[in-house]
Amino acid sequence: MGLPPFSRFMEEHRVPVYRFLLAAVGPSAADDCFQDTFISALRAYPKLRDERNLRGWVITIATRKALDHWRAERRRPIPVERLPEQPVLEHLDGDPELWRAVGALPPMQRAAVIHRYVLDLPYADVASALDCTEEAARANAYEGRRKLRALTSLEER
């Protein structure tokens, strides 16, 4: 079994990648991050040695793009009146207050919370997406969730 044609690879993984990016960077940046993710994947694709976990591989690339995006946003001088705009909130389901709180988490915690609690990935996959150990993935998700509970009226259910 070799690599599938890139068109099929993209067809099979476009929905989860988009879903992650929409949750991670919001609708205004999701398209760009999505394209950057698959263009990076396409560059590396012919040299890819292990075709068994293509989903994990592309989610890892998408996570890196989201982290890059957050870091760039943090560096960019933003006028004070625009500060509360974390991910753009329109078109997103869920409580806007919670979205803002997720957007305020440090990057690794934010990514861990989205992968684990928004998208329901098992910790092994969260770890591979964040390129860290499973313990670190658990710690980031746990710490993120603890902060969310403190920042919002979110109850453990």
């Binding site: 070799g2 690599l3 599938p4 044609p5 890139f6 068109s7 099929r8 993209m10 067809e11 476009r14 929905v15 990648v17 988009y18 879903r19 929409l22 949750a23 999701a30 398209d31 999505f34 394209q35 698959f38 263009i39 396409l42 560059r43 694709y45 012919p46 078109h91 997103l92 389901d93 869920g94 409580d95 919670l98 979205w99 997720v102 919370v113 989205i114 609690y117 928004v118 998208l119 329901d120 969730r145 969310l148 979110l154 453990e156 259910r157």
Partner: protein, 201 residues
């Protein structure tokens, strides 16, 4: 943490499809598409076209199945296979004109990468020289390719023609009469020969 799960946004099917199409456009612009494909509606069915930077590398009939054709291309050429109508457009336009009776020869460059073996390649190149509206026999083509007695081998090479229609293997017929076999089903061979006026009716 049910509240967090609600943050999962609903329908991303359309948005992700549009974004994936834009990946194709950007990839082509960045020169990252090694094999571009498209399907083209014609009177002999929805043909699958694939081109490389060199030229047309594959033309397949729908029975072969798009998935199967793309898998073959990924394995034998490069896994950087993407749908890109723009890159396949020059060939598509020539095919449209051919089926509408406005074109008798194909100008599009051919990438011979999938023609296996030197004899096969020579047979296909000789076949490409048979003019619109006329026919040749397997023996003739074998002879012009350098092996007059290899009519059967020539037949095999034509059966495996990676770019039928454009390399007109339908113009090669048995010396014993009839139109003979065709990798893309005999009815298509009859249709093409009739379109070219080489077969009555």
């Amino acid at each position: 943490m049910k509240e967090l799960r609600k943050l999962r946004t609903g329908d991303v099917e359309d948005a992700s499809r549009r974004a994936a199409e834009l990946v194709g456009v950007r990839a082509a612009r960045a020169g990252l598409v090694d094999v571009a494909y498209a399907t083209v509606d014609t009177p002999v069915g929805a043909l699958i076209l694939a081109t490389t930077r060199t030229g047309l590398v594959r033309l397949a009939f729908p029975e072969e199945g798009l998935d199967h054709v793309l898998e073959d291309l990924a394995a034998s050429l490069s896994p950087r296979v993407l749908e890109n109508p723009r890159m396949t457009d020059p060939v598509r336009r020539e095919l449209d004109a051919y089926f509408e009776g406005r074109r008798r020869t194909f100008r599009a460059a051919i990438d011979w990468s999938l023609a296996s073996g030197r004899f096969s390649r020579r047979v296909l190149e000789e076949t490409a020289r048979i003019p619109f509206g006329s026919v040749s026999t397997y023996g003739d083509v074998a002879g012009r390719a350098g092996s007059p007695r290899a009519a059967r081998a020539a037949g095999n090479a034509l059966h495996d023609n990676p770019v039928p229609i454009v390399v007109p293997c339908h113009r090669v017929v048995p010396s014993s009469g009839g139109i003979g076999k065709y990798g893309g089903n005999e009815w298509r061979k009859a249709y093409l020969l009739r379109l070219e006026g080489a077969l009555a009716g």
